[in-house]
């Protein structure tokens, strides 16, 4: 295991920022850490990085205590910032030197995140998205075995986000473990292997999205589009369906889905189309974070 947390606990005075959190991340695995603001995501990351101490439980990062194997760990902080007086190239050059690499590789690294043309400009003139990309560039230095990314895609436009996840795919294919937090649930849905949901410092759900979906037992929506003029006819065959404009929306539990589909299919030419809409990650996320009374 690249990262292993066992009953991790952190208290600030009487408040428990993290309460017996247990999970691990294997090499090559991409794990998304979800939770409200103040759920303990950033605290957890800072403990893993060795920036702040923890009060209880055990943490192993690359087989050692946090902060020991720093050469193998990369970090992208939330709202990453740099000194405004340095150019992107100088800043990345410094980071390369600090990891024992040739600072002349800065321009190539910046080109990898699409900042080649801005490399000689001062970071003070960069937009938020460009700063984020400088932050990403420094996290790529020296083939890290564990990447801790706090809200890595905030401030990035949709195209940059896609490029960013493509970079992550490449890293995880090479065996890097990735722990990232995000508010953009839909992108996490498609691009991570496993999800960990924190709520009020406690781990409330963990697993692959499919498993969480079953565990949550949230209803599936079947959207039926009747053939022209067949709206009423179809509605009588589907008691409980809700009319939304021309369409009929039938919500049911996941195990009942196939039975309903069979009935709809039996209506033959009366139905023009049918869509199955599973619960979204947002629904699943709200389900698990709300269960805690939040």
């Amino acid at each position: 295991m690249t990262l292993k947390l066992q009953d991790l606990t952190k208290t600030y005075g009487p408040a428990r920022a993290l309460d017996r959190v247990t999970f691990s991340v294997a090499p090559g695995e991409r794990v998304a850490l979800l939770g409200h603001n103040g759920a303990g995501k950033s605290t957890l990351m800072k403990i893993v990085l060795g920036l702040i101490p923890h009060d209880g439980g055990a943490v192993q990062v690359l087989g050692a205590a946090p902060g020991v194997r720093r050469a193998g760990v990369a970090y992208l902080p939330e709202n990453v910032a740099f000194h405004p007086a340095l150019t992107g190239e100088e800043q990345i050059g410094l980071f390369l030197s600090l990891r024992g690499q040739d600072p002349r590789g800065a321009r190539a690294l910046l080109a990898r995140v699409g900042l080649h043309d801005a490399a000689a400009r001062r970071i003070g003139t960069y937009s938020k998205g460009m700063r984020q990309r400088v932050g990403l560039a420094q996290a790529l230095i020296g083939h890290p075995r564990l990447l801790i990314l706090d809200e890595p895609t905030s401030g990035l436009d949709p195209v940059s986000r896609r490029d960013f996840y493509a970079l992550l795919d490449g890293l995880s294919a090479q065996g890097a473990a990735i722990l990232l937090s995000s508010h953009a649930l839909t992108e996490v849905e498609a691009r991570t292997d496993r999800i960990v949901i924190l709520s009020g410092g406690r781990l409330v759900a963990e697993g692959a999205l499919e498993r969480l979906r079953i565990e949550a037992g949230l209803p599936v929506a079947l959207v039926v589009t009747p053939a022209t003029g067949q709206g009423d006819g179809v509605a009588t065959h589907l008691p409980g369906a809700e009319r939304v404009g021309e369409k009929l929306v039938l919500t049911c539990k996941a195990p009942e889905k196939l039975g309903h589909l069979a009935r709809i299919a039996a209506l033959g030419p009366k139905v023009a189309d049918v869509d199955v809409i599973p619960p979204s990650l947002e629904d699943i996320y709200s389900h698990f974070s709300r269960r805690d009374g939040q």
Binding site: L51, I52, R70, V73, Y75, N79, G93, F95, S97
Partner: protein, 273 residues
């Protein structure tokens, strides 16, 4: 070592772009030249070369200016990084907090040293042009440059300690100004009051010289005035220079930078980004 040098280079660049190097050098050159031009009066009556007298004047200048410049450069070092949010990231890199501090200190000290070499060097050149005997004062000038660098290092270290403890740049700035006032103004005033009240008693004879050595700014002044035997040109607290042996004040000047950096490191290690 590569890490420290890389950090120092980057910090030095920031110093260049923030105009710190230009301001520090300009300030030192202008003040040093004005003082050495104005300090030509007492030369004849004291019977010493022009440069030695200039060094006495420059010592008084350094006591005020060097700690001020060092504190202005250092108060932001940790607190500023905490506020900008840059500290957390750099601390996840494989380098120690000592190395991080050393890199910053190296750059700041280089800027201060360049300013002092430029300022005192200009004063030395001016004195040499005006007085052929000025060469006699050269050792005093070298001592002044070296001890000024030590004084600068001391206040850089104290500035880092303040910066690490204050956590916010505004708080650190206030504390830095407070420390400056205390070290170069209030401390001496307090001692003077105590000496006057004591009226030649045990305090004046035994405790007073030691209290001067405990303050890096006073130790610096004592060392330079006593070592160059320019006490005749000095007044006030500095006239105590003759009562403190030169090795003592030299030791204080040399030890303070280590003490200050020790304090800075202890304070910085407590910072949680």
């Amino acid at each position: 070592m590569t890490a420290i040098l890389a950090l120092a280079l980057s910090e030095f660049r920031i110093g260049l772009r923030n105009r710190w190097l230009a301001i520090a050098m300009g300030l030192m050159v202008v003040f040093a030249l004005v003082l050495s031009a104005a300090g030509s009066g007492p030369t004849g009556s004291l019977g010493v070369d022009r440069l030695s007298v200039t060094v006495a004047s420059l010592t008084s200048l350094s006591v005020y200016l060097v700690p001020l410049m060092a504190l202005l450069m250092s108060f932001d070092a940790v607190a500023g990084e905490v506020e900008r949010g840059t500290l957390a990231l750099i601390l996840t890199y494989p380098l120690s907090r000592g190395q991080l501090l050393a890199g910053k200190a190296l750059a700041h000290l280089a800027i201060l040293s360049l300013a002092m070499v430029a300022g005192f060097g200009a004063a030395g050149v001016l004195a040499a042009i005006l007085d052929p005997r000025a060469v006699e004062g050269l050792p005093a000038l070298v001592r002044l440059v070296l001890s000024s660098i030590a004084l600068g290092a001391t206040f850089l270290g104290l500035g880092y300690a303040i910066s690490a403890r204050a956590r916010r740049p505004s708080g650190a700035a206030g504390l830095a100004v407070g420390l400056w006032l205390l070290a170069v103004v209030l401390y001496d005033l307090g001692l003077l009051a105590a000496v006057v009240a004591d009226n030649g008693g045990a305090f004046t004879l035994h405790v007073f010289p030691l209290t001067l050595l405990a303050n890096p700014a006073d130790a610096f002044r004592l060392y330079n005035l006593a070592a160059s035997q320019a006490t005749g040109a000095a007044a006030g607290v500095a006239s105590a220079a003759s009562s403190v042996p030169v090795p003592w004040s030299a030791l204080s000047v040399a030890l303070w930078p280590f003490l200050a950096f020790g304090l800075a490191l202890v304070s910085f290690r407590k910072v949680q980004p």
